[in-house]
């Protein structure tokens, strides 16, 4: 019996002592917290809790000056709790209107304090045979009602705030303190039942409250108080407790056996100790596990996460899969509502590559510019993690754009983690708020840092792999995507647009006279031009757009999430850039223009085939309207649709188009023939160009009509085409020709005529070419006609041809100076040359030299 009493006494003192110890530690922690009004009231609350607990202990221990005095002190502490807790809750919730109740509460406290001193709450209190006995006074019940009412009201307010929807800043932080308040209320009210009140139930409730406060501080940094619990310390405390308990049990067991059996030997005590130890070992392990789960459960999860992540990064090389798996893992491990991975594009700006817990379609437009303070900050070695608070607070983030702020808000971003390798920022992880609304803990950050370091290596590898894989879908020459990839991507994109109800546009682009250009300058130069065009496309499109080389000189661009008008503006940008790039780089920019056709899903087409058809039709329309144009698809542009609605304008446009087509073909032929000459003999090609220049100058001086001048130009350009049939050794023979060789050479006029006559649109220049070696006095070839019977264009061409031949280096002689050549012209005037034309030509050469040179340059260019 006496043992029971002793144990009961020990317990009733141990509980308040534990509570006292707990509140003292809480008090010290709170003193370290940043001082705010709320923190100060909380400290006051802890002080009265300490008074209450210590009063209870001292009262039960019956230490000097006696139980009654300590009871009065304990009651003083107990009385303060409801009012201070009410004040604390009102301050947190900002309920300024309830200030009057706060004041009334403090008045009550004062009144009750006096009542307490006068013994009106507890009339008497003493210890009788180890049992605490007390007699309640007349104010005890009012105090219970008022105090209970205040505490309960505070608890309700706080619980209401904690479970508010949408959650406020204080949600979660308040759950545990408010439950604690409810527990205290219950514990205190039980004091009105003396049978229960003799035990320190109220103090036990206070101890529970203290534990809940610890947890709120540990988990949520309640009132910005932080506790760092070292695992080793917890284990040490556990070992000390277990060892103490073990020794106590062994001691009690040995004591009981001795009392019951009546004797004791070390041989007997030893097996008892071993048996108890056998029970204790599993108990210790189990307790350690419980501690691990309670305090370090998160780290367990993290270790698992890291293990899983290590597995992922070694198993996956595909960047998309890697990103998705990483985000999924992070989202689950950290309980975030969503998670995003930003990767840099070719310009160094960051775009959302993958998202988990959010729809990519809604966020695809989000970008982080390379100049963004976030990117700059995370690129620095010292800063790996940024919180949204830092971004909102730090002055160096004032340069953040409004759109960037809105995007962070849209993502509900809480943490931004830089994924860095060496000095390069490979990616940015953005984590939104946790599903629980809790802030990210230091452990979370630690995990993120470890993960980001590992992710850097993995992303780098995956990027290299992706780059290699990309080679397979790229056009070798232009490095744009190839035809196959274009179609695959467009399939996916249209499916995505259907799902997300988004527009998508396609641009078809074709070089207007590329065939001619290629023929004229050769394929190598043509390839360079194609590269220049690819560059212009890349410069004019976003990283998310897909540009492909569709065919030889055809390109196609997919513009995701782009409406028709935006697509037209992109197309116009490409057209301008192509023009500027070619002009700037000294290309033949007249030939290198592009026509572009634009069509959009779903406005113009409901599926891929229709979309491509519409874009093609729009391109056709652009060509038809005169090239170097951008056309948006309209049903009217579809030839099928306009066939029934032919208007004067459309007829005119059609005629114009046909004429242009003929011109194109015609021009193409001339350039092709010129290219043929060039390919065979560079002198002949240069000679043809110079002769064209001289002949045109003379034709202009003679005021020939535009049409005849055009004939002179074409004939001059092609006059030596017949040399195609002359053996190369004769053409390039250094010495004089033999009569038979001369005869062969003289055939070139007839050959030229025969070639030209094969082409209907050039047929009218054939006679000019045929007679350009006739002499004015009839001594020329092939027909020996003379005087004005020779076409004027031929007579012009003769002078130009001979003059340039005389002033050029030939295999058989050196070039003559201008004066010498002029003398030759004068000498042969009236014989080989038309005497009326020679003086005009000489005047051109001599008197109008500057203008003539300028003219020559223009024509040659």
């Amino acid at each position: 019996m006496s043992t029971d009493i002793n144990i009961s006494i020990s317990l009733s003192m141990a509980i308040p002592l534990t509570a006292f110890f707990f509140y003292c530690v809480l008090f010290l922690l709170a003193l370290k917290s940043p001082r705010s009004k709320v923190a100060r009231i909380f400290i006051g609350y802890l002080v009265v809790m300490i008074i209450w607990s210590f009063g209870s202990f001292a009262m039960r221990a019956d230490i000097f000056p006696g139980t009654l005095v300590w009871n009065r002190i304990m009651i003083f502490g107990m009385m303060g709790v409801p009012f201070l807790f009410f004040h604390f809750s009102q301050e947190i919730l900002g309920r300024a209107k309830l200030i009057i109740w706060r004041r009334i509460g403090y008045v009550f406290w004062g009144v009750l304090f006096i009542g307490n001193l006068l013994g009106m709450i507890v009339a008497d209190a003493y210890m009788s045979q180890g049992t605490f006995v007390y007699i309640l006074g007349p104010l005890a019940v009012p105090f219970g009602i008022i105090g209970g009412g205040y505490t309960l009201a505070s608890a309700i307010f706080l619980i209401n705030e904690a479970f508010r929807n949408p959650p406020s800043f204080w949600s979660n932080r308040l759950v545990y303190p408010s439950i604690g308040a409810a527990v205290i209320t219950l514990g205190s009210l039980l004091n009105f039942i003396p049978r229960i009140g003799q035990y320190p139930i109220d103090i036990a409730a206070n101890t529970v409250n203290a534990c809940l406060l610890y947890y709120a501080i540990y988990r949520y940094h309640f009132l910005n108080i932080t506790i760092t619990i070292r695992k080793g310390l917890v284990y040490s405390v556990l070992t000390a407790l277990l060892t103490g308990s073990y020794l106590l049990i062994v001691f009690v067991a040995e004591h009981l056996i001795r009392e019951q059996v009546g004797y004791s030997t070390i041989l007997f005590a030893l097996p008892v100790a071993v048996i108890i130890a056998l029970f204790f070992e599993p108990a210790k392990k189990y307790l350690q596990l419980l501690i691990d789960k309670f305090f370090f459960g998160q780290q367990f999860g993290f270790r698992e996460t890291l293990k899983e992540f290590s597995h992922i990064i070694t198993a996956i090389l595909d960047l998309d899969k890697l990103a998705n798996s990483t985000l999924e893992l992070l989202t689950k491990a950290l309980q975030t509502s969503s998670c995003y991975l930003f990767l840099p594009d070719r310009d160094g700006n960051f775009y959302i590559h993958s998202a988990y817990g959010a729809k990519m379609e809604d966020l695809s437009a989000i970008r982080m510019d390379k100049t963004s303070p976030i990117v700059c900050c995370l690129s620095q070695k010292s800063e790996s993690i940024l919180t949204i608070e830092e971004i909102e607070t730090r002055p160096d983030f004032q340069g953040l754009w409004q759109s960037e702020r809105d995007e962070l808000e849209e993502m509900k971003a809480e943490l931004l983690v830089g994924i860095r390798m060496h000095k390069e920022l490979l990616g940015i992880l953005v984590l939104s708020e946790k599903t629980s609304g809790d802030p990210y803990s230091d452990d979370d950050r630690e995990l993120l840092l470890t993960l980001s370091n590992e992710a850097a290596v993995a992303i780098n590898n995956a990027r290299a792999y992706t780059e290699a894989r990309t080679q397979a879908v790229r056009d070798e020459l232009t490095k744009l995507f190839n035809y196959r990839f274009f179609h695959e991507f467009l399939d996916k994109e249209i499916a995505r647009c259907k799902r997300a109800d988004l527009p998508c546009s396609v641009i078809f682009m074709d070089l207007d006279l590329f065939k001619v250009y290629n023929d004229l300058y050769g394929h190598l130069v043509g390839d360079e031009a194609l590269n220049t065009i690819a560059k212009a496309i890349n410069e004019s499109t976003r990283a998310t757009d897909v540009a492909a080389r569709y065919g030889g000189d055809e390109f196609a661009i997919i513009l995701p999430a782009t409406n028709p008008l935006e697509a037209v503006s992109v197309a116009e940008r490409i057209r301008n850039r192509v023009q500027n790039n070619f002009r700037g780089a000294g290309y033949d920019s007249k030939l290198l223009t592009v026509s572009l056709g634009v069509a959009s899903y779903p406005k113009h087409a409901g599926n891929k085939q229709q979309l491509l058809y519409c874009a093609d039709q729009a391109l056709y329309q652009a060509k038809r309207l005169g090239r170097n144009k951008v056309c948006l698809y309209t049903p009217a542009a579809n030839t099928k649709n306009i066939s029934n609605v032919v208007t004067e304008n459309t007829l005119e446009a059609e005629t114009d188009f046909l004429r242009k087509q003929i011109e194109d073909a015609y021009l193409s032929t001339v350039y092709t023939l010129a290219a043929v000459i060039n390919a065979r003999d560079n002198y002949t090609y240069t000679h043809s160009k110079m002769v064209t220049a001289y002949a045109l100058a003379l034709a202009q001086a003679l005021k020939l009509s535009e049409e005849r001048k055009e004939m002179v130009r074409l004939a001059s350009m092609l006059h030596d085409i017949g040399k195609i049939g002359i053996p190369e050794y004769i053409l390039n023979k250094p010495g004089p020709l033999t009569p038979s060789e001369r005869e062969i050479v003289q055939r070139h006029s007839n050959i030229a005529e025969a070639i030209i006559n094969q082409m209907p649109y050039l047929r009218r220049v054939a006679p000019i070419i045929l007679h350009h070696h006739e002499s004015f006095d009839g001594s020329g070839y092939p027909n020996g006609i003379k005087g004005k019977n020779i076409p004027i264009e031929s007579r012009i061409l003769t002078i130009a041809d001979v003059y340039h031949a005389l002033t050029s280096d030939r295999p058989y002689r050196k070039a003559m100076a201008m004066e010498e050549a002029i003398s030759q012209l004068q000498l042969l005037s009236g014989k080989k040359f038309d005497p009326d034309l020679v003086p005009v030509f000489i005047r051109l050469l001599k008197n109008e030299m500057i203008e003539f040179q300028y003219f020559l340059k223009t024509v040659v260019r």
Partner: protein, 535 residues
């Protein structure tokens, strides 16, 4: 992100400080970096707007150098076609509010400025910075409580000052005296009267208004004009407050002053005259005011810190360019001359500059010549270890006389008044000056030497009251006559001009405006004054 209130309750005062006042810790390079980045955003927004095409008919450059090279300086005239019509379609961003001036400047009925959501947020944030500076005595150390009684004695919407409380609403819960919906229906005088009446009952923690109003109330107290009748008319709480004030004043052995009745935690004042009044405000109210600088086109642009010395420009308010005074003078002398500008890191201490601004966050004004002049005090604040230029705001516009932030007198106002006064006069110039206690307009005018100067001054004063309602209010509300006539003999201007031509300053002399001419000219004219010492 937690609200200011939540942060303060958590004791994270330093976080609140960093967010609102942390910009003072920027270096000048960081300041420029913020400016350039926000300008890049603005250029992007502008290039997608119709406004750029209307105004410049050329693409908007995408970098600072080209922007300054190719985009010309603008005035309101460049914007009037679409801002006057409130044409939102051409703007870089959708406006949340349209703000206007009182329209007294230049030829426009009103100048309108659109404010996007982002602009409202930033300028409200900047105003909040000024509130914190007004509440602190050292770095990080301020006390701000919810439901602080805020006597907000400034113009209601659609004026800029009226927009600010709406921007502050989601930032911090103040109790406005009088409440905003009530205040917006009141005249300036009613708002102030009702504000102070409510302040007597409920107390005042913060004041934002015109400094001359505080001086006027202080003077009323010191002249014991706040007497028995006011006391009798007030309610119980007001009587209690007054009695407590009287007791405090009695203990100190002096007359009742506003600081005995109210203990203001912070005072914010706008306008050039704040510096002039700040010591008297401290005497009457127990606290020096924080001066802020702002306007319709520029929002809340600059603030003083807790040493009440130089103003610091906010880096995120606008892109700041400065026309040096000599460049300004050249542009006045030759209207075809395009003055060059310098940036914040290029301004020099002691020099005066005209401000040129480009709005951020979708605002409309681009390289806009504000007409406001600032003077650079120093490139850093040594006492507070702030490494940003310290400026003072000198004039609203060189061709406008701003008295006590109440009235803006233009050349046209003076001409109309002289016409209405029906007096015979010759040439004249006017400038802002300071009498013993107050800012005034000094009118240097050629009149007949035999005239009765005081009667002419009275006539002109009455005429000014009738042509300018703000001039009228100034005398009625603040209670002082803001005109000083300096009579000059006929031919005086001619003499000065001849003298200047002789000294090679003829061109400058001819280009002198009638409003706020250079001090040198005033000094020369003053030598001919017909007024004798003591008149």
């Amino acid at each position: 992100m937690a609200s200011i209130l939540e942060l303060l309750k958590e004791g994270k005062k330093r976080d609140v400080w960093m967010k609102y006042c942390g910009f003072i810790d920027l270096s000048i390079d960081e300041f420029i970096k913020v400016q350039e980045r926000l300008l890049t955003e603005q250029l992007g927004l502008l290039s997608n707007s119709g406004m750029a095409k209307i105004m410049f008919n050329q693409p908007i450059p995408d970098n600072l150098n080209d922007f300054r090279k190719y985009i010309p300086l603008t005035t309101y005239e460049n914007y009037v076609s679409f801002l006057g019509q409130k044409n939102e379609d051409v703007l870089p961003a959708k406006p949340q509010y349209w703000i206007c001036t009182s329209g007294k400047l230049g030829n426009y009925e009103r100048k309108w400025a659109p404010y996007s959501r982002g602009m409202v947020q930033i300028h409200a944030k900047n105003f909040f910075s000024a509130i914190i500076f007004s509440l602190c005595s050292k770095k990080y150390d301020f006390t701000l409580k919810e439901n602080y009684k805020f006597l907000y004695a400034m113009a209601p919407p659609p004026y800029m000052t009226g927009m600010v409380p709406y921007g502050l609403m989601d930032k911090f819960p103040f109790e406005y005296l009088p409440p905003l919906p009530v205040a917006e229906k009141m005249t300036f005088e009613e708002r102030n009267t009702e504000g102070f009446r409510l302040g007597l009952v409920r107390g005042i923690d913060l004041f934002f208004g015109v400094s001359s109003v505080l001086v006027k109330i202080g003077e009323k107290f010191s002249r014991q004009e706040f007497g028995d009748s006011d006391f009798r008319r007030s309610n119980f709480l007001a009587k209690l407050r007054l009695a407590w004030g009287l007791a405090k004043a009695g203990i100190r052995g002096r007359k009742l002053l506003p600081k005995d009745v109210w203990s203001l935690k912070g005072i914010i004042c706008a306008g050039t005259d704040t510096a002039f009044y700040k010591d008297r405000i401290e005497y009457y109210w127990g606290k020096k005011p924080i001066e802020i600088y702002g306007g319709t086109e520029i929002g809340i642009a600059a603030t003083q810190t807790w040493d009440h010395e130089g103003l610091i420009l906010f880096p995120d308010a606008n892109f700041w360019e400065f026309i040096p005074e000599e460049e300004y003078c050249k542009s006045v002398a030759d209207p075809g001359y395009i003055p060059s500008t310098v940036l914040t890191h290029e301004i020099e201490p002691g020099k005066r500059y005209e401000l040129v601004i480009t709005n951020f966050r979708g605002g409309a004004f681009i390289r806009y010549r504000l007409g406001d002049f600032i003077r650079v005090l120093s490139l850093r604040n040594h006492n507070l270890n702030i490494n940003l230029p310290q400026i003072v705001y000198e004039d609203r516009a060189r061709d406008v006389i701003d008295i006590a932030n109440f009235t803006r007198i233009t050349e046209r106002t003076v001409w109309e008044a002289l016409e209405r006064a029906n007096i015979t006069h010759g040439r004249w110039v006017a400038r802002k000056g300071f009498a013993k206690d107050h800012p005034i307009m000094e009118l240097y005018i050629e009149i007949d030497s035999g005239s009765e100067f005081q009667s002419i001054e009275e006539k002109i004063h009455l005429a000014l009251r009738s042509v300018d309602s703000d001039y009228h209010d100034l005398e009625d509300i603040i209670g002082f006559r803001p005109l000083k006539l300096v009579p000059l003999p006929e031919g005086c201007f001619k003499l000065v001009m001849q003298k200047n031509r002789g000294a090679g300053n003829g061109r400058e002399m001819e280009a002198i405006t009638r409003i706020n001419p250079p001090d040198r000219i005033i000094a020369e004219l003053a030598q001919y004054s017909l007024m004798r010492e003591g008149d």
